[in-house]
Symmetry: none
Subunit: 217 residues, 4 copies
DNA sequence: GATGAATGAGCATTCATTCAT
DNA sequence: GATGAATGAATGCTCATTCAT
């Protein structure tokens, strides 16, 4: 019967969806209040369940935290597609750098994935070293992409000669800081809207990388 | 007697130094483990006293935290001296920017003052909004300096026209990120020593700001 | 069809056998870990069902415990047959005592019925007073048999005059202690195999009861 | 001043006495309700303190249980004195056996030490194997004493030849069972006062051990 | 009848805070 | 001023019990 069918479907969909509902609620609260200050009661309440229910899906508060972080890393996986696109890219290196950076911002900088950065930094030093995990899974991905683009620009004479690794870190820093401030101050960097920030940022980095200008001194 | 005299001296010195010994111990632990995960017992133990003693100097754990942050802000006060120095500065704006940035790094980026940034970001969102306090006391100071220098450079035709506020934030970001990583990953950014990082950073920013080059597009 | 027939048979047999399968699993675990430390999940798992299923047959954990104990008392019912047999017995009282004791051991002392003693003693003091129930249903049965045999021996001049009730308790004690040790230490009394224990025990009791010897003092 | 002196004394005496006050309360409740069913709140309440106070003296509920058992074993240490006394004893072996048994009963069978037997049997099978510990510390001590006395009697021709180890266990059983029943049924074995029980018990054992009677068959 | 997801009351444990000494 | 024993509220975790399917 349709009733039974729907019933089972609802139940099953619930069961399947629960874990991510729970981690979503947990992520929000962990970011808002920090790991230690977040009570399981609060997480459960925000997810519309009861504390005990959490233990049907996660062994402990720490296990829940792990799941939250791991789930937050998933979007960053899409960055790996860029590796092939860079090889086939036909346009100029400045254009490519623009595209890569804006896509990184779209994927990582927006939504709750941004708060995850603040979270793992806050809880760095705990048993499971999530700062390293996050660094390797997200930051290092972005760094690698930037290095590849910068190297391409150097090879094509579009960028001046730089230490690609150092510069990749430096170029990424303003993106990450922006993410951090937005989740720490609550409402973006005061006085500078994101759009203008990104525009000035891209201009500054591209100008700084461009070859063919006289040296600074 | 010499013994008594020494005793009193030690006692007196101790008594006066106590509060800062306590906040120093607290700062270390707050940075290492976060506010919530740090027990007063641990702080007292590291300071060589007993938990109850903390309450002779601070009303509560939160009051201790406040004192820790406030004390950490003190070094940043020296930044205010720069305001006058900028007005009197005789050299080029790129040189001035270099000096200001390196001094900011010396004052804020080194020592435990660096950990403080990570700490206030971690605990952002708690009752007392330290992220804002820290932002206003330290970051905003630095931002203002940078804005002044950039404006000077623009006025003198040494820097191209930019949004000074946005660019000041962007220029500061790599410094702050470096501080954060050093205290979150434990041991600096892997693969890029601080000295090279700073050198490439200055070069990139100054190249990006320099006037007289054709626009990026 | 045979398949269906077998299926129904199996189903039917299962259905009827379920309660005792459940109590059997529960008995084992209650003895191993104690009442409170045994989780319904464990019992269900050992019985090959799911926790909720237990509630189809028992109202609560305590009701299950009650059923376990009551079921464990059943074998002891066979002791009642002895009442008639004693009346008709033709041999000597020492021989009769031997037979009664060895049968008691066979019925009560072996198998899981032995563990039941340890169990009810462990949980004595709970709401339902199983120590009394077990005492009345099993121990008192044995005591009564022993009293009858001892009284017969006294009447026939084979045993010396004793307080039959006290002596019955005393005679039974070594049997019960042996049962307890076997289930508490895991592997019988260290150093004394059951067979030798029983032989020496019977000899000591019969020697102690025998009439016709000079008093101890 | 006297006030201060008394104050310190009271405080110190409290501090020193606390652990044993707590274990005493815990022992009572563990015996009454079993380990798992006893809440720390109850123990604290009975000791006149608050739950948290328990953790000033014991790391966990299990640590408290361990302390309770270990403390309960102390009285049994006095049994070791008997080893020398047996060697020097001048009287008959039956008299010696009487004395040893009555002293064992006085030391182990009375007071809360008796409940300890029930307790360790109940909790046998848990991580720390207290049944073995108790067996070795208390029961085995008594067994050894009995074996020594029985061997002495056999050597002097006062007792018939028996397996000393088996018989020692058997002789001890009625004492232990009596202890167990008293703590499981609440109020002694129904119908047989302790005094008569012990008298009949001694008579039965000594008669059973005495040499010079014809064998049972 | 059987399942297993969900519940919620109960308990062990932690830790900031107090206060008599 | 300094101590440390004692407190009690808070919280992670468990598990018997229920109920929709």
């Amino acid at each position: 019967m349709a009733g039974e069918f729907l019933g089972k479907t609802v139940r099953r969909r619930r069961k399947d969806a629960r874990p991510s509902e729970l981690t979503a609620a947990a992520l929000q609260l962990f970011i808002e209040k920090g790991y230690a200050a977040t009570r399981l009661d609060d997480i459960a309440a925000r997810a519309g369940v009861v504390k005990g229910t959490l233990y049907l899906y996660f062994d402990s508060k720490e296990a829940l935290f792990n799941a939250v972080v791991r789930e937050g890393l998933v979007p960053a996986l899409s960055l790996s597609e860029w590796k092939e696109r860079i090889a086939d890219y036909a346009g100029s290196s400045p254009d490519l750098l623009r595209e890569v950076i804006l896509d990184f911002w779209r994927v990582v900088g927006s939504g709750q994935a941004g708060g995850l950065l603040k979270l793992v930094l806050s809880e760095a030093g705990n048993s499971s070293d999530f700062a390293h995990i996050y660094h390797d899974a997200v930051i290092a991905q972005g760094i690698d992409l930037l290095r590849a683009v910068i190297a391409r620009g150097m090879a094509r004479g579009e960028f001046r000669a730089v230490d690609t690794e150092a510069v990749a870190h430096i170029v990424m820093a303003p993106l990450l800081m922006r993410m951090i401030w937005e989740h720490s101050l609550g409402c973006g960097v005061p006085g500078v809207p994101t759009k203008r920030y990104l525009a000035e940022y891209l201009e500054l980095m591209l100008s700084g990388l461009r070859s063919g200008c006289s040296p600074n001194r």
